[in-house]
């Protein structure tokens, strides 16, 4: 245990470094001066606040470090989560199903639920690629974009409805998954990450520049909303609409609720397929691939097919989610498919921890829900998001749920720690 004075000295050193770091950026601000040149405005009070906060934060951190209760490593949050997970997951599902039915719930909360659910679905889709097959994909947003643009273009040019397009979007995205997966079969780890990132950017740039087809940066407007057995959710009411059919007043919450149940069903489908696949030869091959590629090859598993199915199925769910995104927003543009989206979804998967389905739900609620609730801090939203990524990684590098139950076991399934799971070099 260090003495208080040593802690103070350490904190002062950190504060000094912070002073130097923040000095040029917080202490000075560029502004347009007279005669067209730039000028600087000093902001000493902001700098002082930032440095002071750093000092206090560092000091408290050191105090906590010295005095934190020692506990056995196994009895962490993750362990408790894994134990209660059996009851927690169904409870969460009940809440998810009942959310739009809560009387008097504000439409904005259901809308937020739709957003979170979209990211949960994307997270579960990417989890197939990253969490199960161990292939690090930084360009997942490409398939999201393929799905969204497929629906937008099919509905605009051929007048197809949402329900007709949904499977098509999935198929198209899966085809792109195979198409982009083929060249990267031999790549491993970080190289794979960078190439998939490049593919994501290529697709976005092509969408931006191919103005004749996609409308370029202006995007595509007027994408139709989904209907329920031909009944539209229109604010006008009258015959042929949902409200008119039931003889009730049309409200915006009906459409939001409908969208909510669509994405909930899609997300649950993703989850169900993943859980089923994990029990089948294909899913086991994925997990074997993640653990050791060479051993896999030695045992006669076809690496090409295993990797390509992971890409294709992951991409398919991305395509579904993209299709849903297009119909929900009614308007899409390349701005919605930047690298930040890929990073967000990957962050959700990794923060969820070691391919845990429940962990992804928690991570999506934290990473998407919390910033949305901080709307008043709009300009600081991404700043907090970046900071949170770093802090959560440093504190819990294995994610929220860092234990896993083996898919196949003889007798009682023992929960294993994430340290024993390979990170996937695929």
């Amino acid at each position: 245990m260090k003495s208080l004075s040593a802690n103070l000295k350490d904190s002062l050193a950190v504060a000094l470094v912070a002073c130097l770091l923040f000095g040029p950026f917080l202490g000075l601000q560029l502004r347009d001066g007279d005669n067209g040149n730039l000028a600087l405005t000093p902001r000493p009070e902001l700098l002082a606040i930032a440095v002071g906060l750093t000092f206090i934060a560092r000091f408290l951190m050191l105090l906590w470090h010295d005095h934190r209760p020692r506990r056995p490593p196994a009895a962490g949050l993750s362990y408790a989560m894994a134990k209660t997970g059996k009851y927690f997951a169904p409870a969460l599902l009940v809440v998810a199903v009942a959310l739009p039915l809560i009387p008097g719930i504000a439409n904005s909360y259901v809308d937020l639920g739709v957003l979170i659910m979209t990211y949960i679905m994307l997270g579960w889709g990417l989890n197939i690629v990253v969490g199960l097959a161990g292939l690090l994909d930084l360009g997942y947003v490409a398939f999201y974009a393929v799905g969204a643009y497929s629906y937008a273009l099919l509905s605009q040019n051929f007048g197809l409805s949402f329900w007709e397009c949904l499977p098509l979007c999935g198929i198209l995205a899966a085809a792109w998954g195979i198409f982009l997966g083929f060249p990267v079969l031999r790549l491993r780890g970080d190289y794979l990450a960078i190439v998939t990132l490049a593919f994501g950017e290529i697709i976005r740039l092509v969408i931006t520049n191919w103005v004749a087809l996609t409308g370029g940066p202006n995007g595509i407007d007027g994408i139709p909303h989904p209907s329920l057995f031909g009944l539209k959710f229109s604010m006008a009411g009258g015959p042929g609409t949902f409200a008119g059919f039931l003889g009730i007043d049309p409200t915006p919450s009906q459409r939001t609720g409908y969208l909510y149940y669509i994405i909930l069903a899609l997300a649950l489908l993703t989850n169900w397929v993943t859980l089923r696949l994990r029990k089948q030869p294909l899913g086991r091959a994925w997990e074997a691939l993640r653990e050791d590629e060479i051993a896999c090859r030695s045992l006669g598993i076809n690496l090409r097919n295993t990797k390509l199915t992971a890409f294709a199925i992951g991409a398919m769910f991305g395509g579904f989610a993209g299709c849903f995104f297009a119909t929900r927003e009614g308007f899409i543009s390349p701005d919605s498919f930047t690298f930040i989206e890929s990073a967000t979804v990957l962050a959700i998967v990794v923060l969820g921890g070691a391919g845990s389905q429940l962990g992804i739900v928690l991570a999506a609620c934290v990473m998407i829900g919390v910033p949305e609730l901080l709307q008043s801090l709009q300009i600081y939203r991404m700043l907090i998001f970046g900071l949170a990524l770093v802090v959560i990684m440093v504190v819990r590098p294995r994610g929220f749920i860092s234990t896993r139950r083996p898919t196949v076991s003889l007798g009682h399934a023992k929960i294993i720690g994430a340290e024993l799971i390979s990170e996937g070099r695929g």
Partner: protein, 302 residues
Amino acid sequence: MAYALQQLINGVTLGMIYGLIAVGYTMVYGIIGMINFAHGDVFMIGAYLGIIALTALTGITSVPLGIIAALVFSAAFCGLYGFSIERVAYRPLRGSFRLAPLISAIGMSILLENYVQTSQGALERAIPSLIPGGITVLTENGFNVQLSWMQIAIVVITLAVLAIFTYIVTRTPLGRAMRAVEQDAKMAALLGIDTNRTISYTFIIGSALAAVAGVMFLLYYGVIDFYIGFNAGIKAFTAAVLGGIGSLPGAVLGGLLIGLIEAFWSGYATVAYKDVAVYSILAIVLMFMPTGLLGRNEVEKV
């Protein structure tokens, strides 16, 4: 011919900037085996430090002195940024599972971009050209091939910085330690090299080089915003991969090639798709030549 020569000049200038950033990537990858995703944003921080320094030095009449002061200021503070980033975001995760530092680096990249955006505003910032004019190298059919003083200055400064850097890596005890840790960190530690300190120095040097690149980007284009780091970062990483990741001369060579490809593509094909061309090259190189031009062949151990 004249047009091609002009593209060559532009490409080399751009390539020098990419090469400097790529060196930072390749050093960090070589020594701790992670993609320092925030490196592009360190470059952006360097450019902002440069514009702040140049604005603060408005009174100084000697342009070369002002540029050198801005370079030194930016490199010093950026080195401190690199050091802090490694200490805060990467060191606690060393030896953790492989995705953790990557996610942390992505978080750091988002953090740095928004830190600059919120503290300095989202507007583009422009400075007037400090060294205007140039020489006409060649005139052909009324097309003048321009070689601006600024381009000469950029190439000269890059070569000087790279010379200092090469001296550090090949001739000093620190450089020896860096190369030793790169080859085998555990063995180097057993032989009494302070691995942590060596890694810190690697980050400081890499960030200082990125800062130099940032200031030169600022001087060359005259306009910066908080988002320049992303594209430049990916292109520099492409350069590092093209040259063979882990190889320092390879990074500079890769940077030059990427700069030339970009310049010629913009000159002869469509400007809109120049980034697509660079990314495609990244994918193609990794598929068919994963070790790059000057990289070592890695033996797969079972």
